[in-house]
């Protein structure tokens, strides 16, 4: 009974699920890790971004995964160079700490910023930024995992630093402070393909009215479908599941192979084979949308809009 009612709600009432490729950036490279660590180089961010744009991504997230650690934000140049002609919303995260940082991000071509570490250090920064740029520009990223006692605490510095802030309370607080959306990462699922933490994501989605974007754990299109049905979250940020497929699609692969001198930095041996990570059944954006639609999850249909 409850299942069928919920299914109907998903079909008729819910907004379309936003599918958001997430590009983790280290230096000039697109990288991917597990539990936000053990980063491997996948290639040029620009190639992947362009590919996802052409395949109908609803938005893109660029996350500098070491920015907070080194207190730098070199991502802005990369975005200015690569994202100018991508006319979908672009979120930038990593190392954003001030009004000036947000101004520079927007000038570089970002539409929204995601803040985590700086927001936990100084929660009032959320209201300052929301007032200055509008709530819709400010996403608070919450990185969390299930502790041994079953509670969820927030982490900073891309999952490296533990805080004593309970994640669910923090979600409610950032909404009160004026955050426009929440990007919720399950550190313990991230990169594993073991499925989303639907318990956590459902709880936070119920507790706040602002949109929640779930991130961490997608191993298959089915995981995304069950996430949407079980939690009513507004969007999903996807990395491995898309990247491991895109890597071998012609438009990305040909661009990557043209220039043998690229990507000298980092471990990329594993990319030479066609294997993916253990639990992850990689897929393309169009096939993901088809799978979602076939089980009643609404997502964007008309991509070109041309008649």
């Amino acid at each position: 009974m409850a299942g069928s009612t919920f299914h109907q709600w998903v079909n008729e009432k819910m907004d379309q699920l936003r599918i958001i490729p997430r590009l983790d950036i280290k230096g000039p490279n697109l990288v991917k890790g597990i539990h936000l660590e053990g980063l491997r180089v996948l290639g040029e961010p620009a190639d992947f971004a362009q590919h996802y744009y052409e395949q109908g991504a609803d938005e893109l997230i660029y996350q500098d995964v070491v920015a907070s650690l080194y207190e730098r934000n070199g991502l802005f140049e990369l975005i200015a160079k690569t994202a100018r002609n991508l006319f979908i919303p672009l979120t930038v995260g990593g190392g954003i700490r001030s009004v000036d940082d947000v101004t520079r991000a927007l000038q570089s071509g970002a539409d929204k910023v995601a803040i985590n570490t700086a927001a936990i250090r100084d929660p009032d920064l959320i209201s300052t930024l929301a007032k200055r740029f509008g709530s819709s520009t400010i996403i608070v990223a919450i990185e969390t995992l299930k502790e041994s006692d079953g509670s969820y605490l927030a982490y900073t510095d891309n999952g490296r630093e533990h805080t004593r802030v309970p994640a669910i309370e923090w979600a409610r607080k950032v909404e009160r402070l004026g955050a426009g959306e929440i990007l919720l990462t399950s550190i313990d699922r991230e990169g594993t393909g073991k499925g989303f933490d639907v318990e956590l994501i459902g709880e936070i989605s119920r507790q706040v009215d602002i949109p929640v974007i779930a991130h961490g754990g997608a191993g298959s299109a089915d995981d995304v479908a069950s996430l949407s049905k079980a939690t009513g979250c507004s969007g999903v940020a996807l990395a491995s599941i898309l990247h491991y497929h895109a890597r071998f699609e012609t438009s990305v692969a040909s661009r990557q192979d043209q220039d043998g001198s690229r990507h000298r930095e980092g471990n990329r041996e594993f990319l030479r084979g066609r294997h993916t990570m253990g639990n992850i059944r990689a897929c393309s954006l169009p096939s993901l949308r088809d799978s979602l639609r076939s089980v009643g999850v609404r997502c964007r249909t008309s991509l070109s809009g041309a008649s």
Binding site: W9, E12, K13, M14, D15, Q16, R18, Y53, G56, D58, R84, N85, F87, I88, P89, L106, Q107, G109, D111, F133, G134, S135, S136, T137, G180, E181, D209, I210, P211, S234, G235, R300, T301, S302, L303, S304, G305, A306, S307
Partner: protein
């Protein structure tokens, strides 16, 4: 000669995205908050994010409200986007009551947060939504090459309610609630959605706007 477009920069929100999209469709675009510079422009674009009251206050402080009314009285091309559409109306109920530019008769109200059946609807609405073009608008030059129910990108908590159906260019839904998401009256055209963030279909709309100048 490419047409000159000025994005009205009244210190609220992000002018860069819309400028980038204008450039992409071949318009000669600048941003300005100086009404004296408007004279030489072929069209104005009024963007905006944030709160209605703050935006009106800022427009008034800079003397842009009068300039925009004058512009519209002369039937010159004006495009409003998001909050820039809402500002064209007579008043908004966002955080109290605020008067708008009154270029289009009607009011601005908050999106419902529950459906008629009582299920929760998220406000702000953030994401892509199919847009139904009105018959008149669908056959216009502005809508050339745009599908009758294409998806556009939205971010908003309030919506405009035109007094006259004649001004409605398109509608869309928030849950089971249908509302106006684009208006056209005289030289003024405005959208609640963001054409500059709506991929190829949004670019088509901007290109059409540019080619009509």
């Amino acid at each position: 000669m490419s047409k000159q477009v000025i994005v009205v920069d009244y210190q609220l929100g992000n002018v860069f995205s819309v400028m980038e999209a204008c450039r992409y469709v071949g318009l000669n675009v600048t941003h300005s908050r100086d009404p004296d510079q408007f004279e030489s422009a072929d069209a104005l674009i009024l963007p905006g994010v944030g709160a209605f009251g703050d935006a009106m206050e800022s427009l008034q402080k800079l003397g842009l409200d009068k300039a925009l009314r004058r512009w519209s009285d002369q039937q010159r091309p004006l495009m409003g986007i998001c909050l820039g559409m809402q500002l064209l109306f007579e008043e908004s109920t966002e955080f109290g009551h605020h008067s708008g530019l009154s270029l289009i008769p009607g009011t601005v109200e908050r999106l419902p947060s529950v459906t008629q059946a009582g299920s929760k609807l998220r406000v702000p609405k953030v994401g892509w939504s199919p847009v139904q073009l009105s018959q008149g608008f669908a056959s216009s030059e502005l809508a050339k090459g745009i599908d009758g129910s294409a998806d556009f990108y939205f971010v908003h908590s309030y919506y405009a309610k035109p007094a006259s159906l004649d001004d409605v260019a398109a509608t869309c839904c928030h849950g089971d609630f249908s509302y106006c998401c684009a208006v056209r009256r005289g030289g003024t055209f405005a959208t609640q959605f963001h054409p500059e963030k709506s991929s190829e279909v949004g670019i088509t709309l901007l290109r059409n706007f540019g080619s009509m100048l």
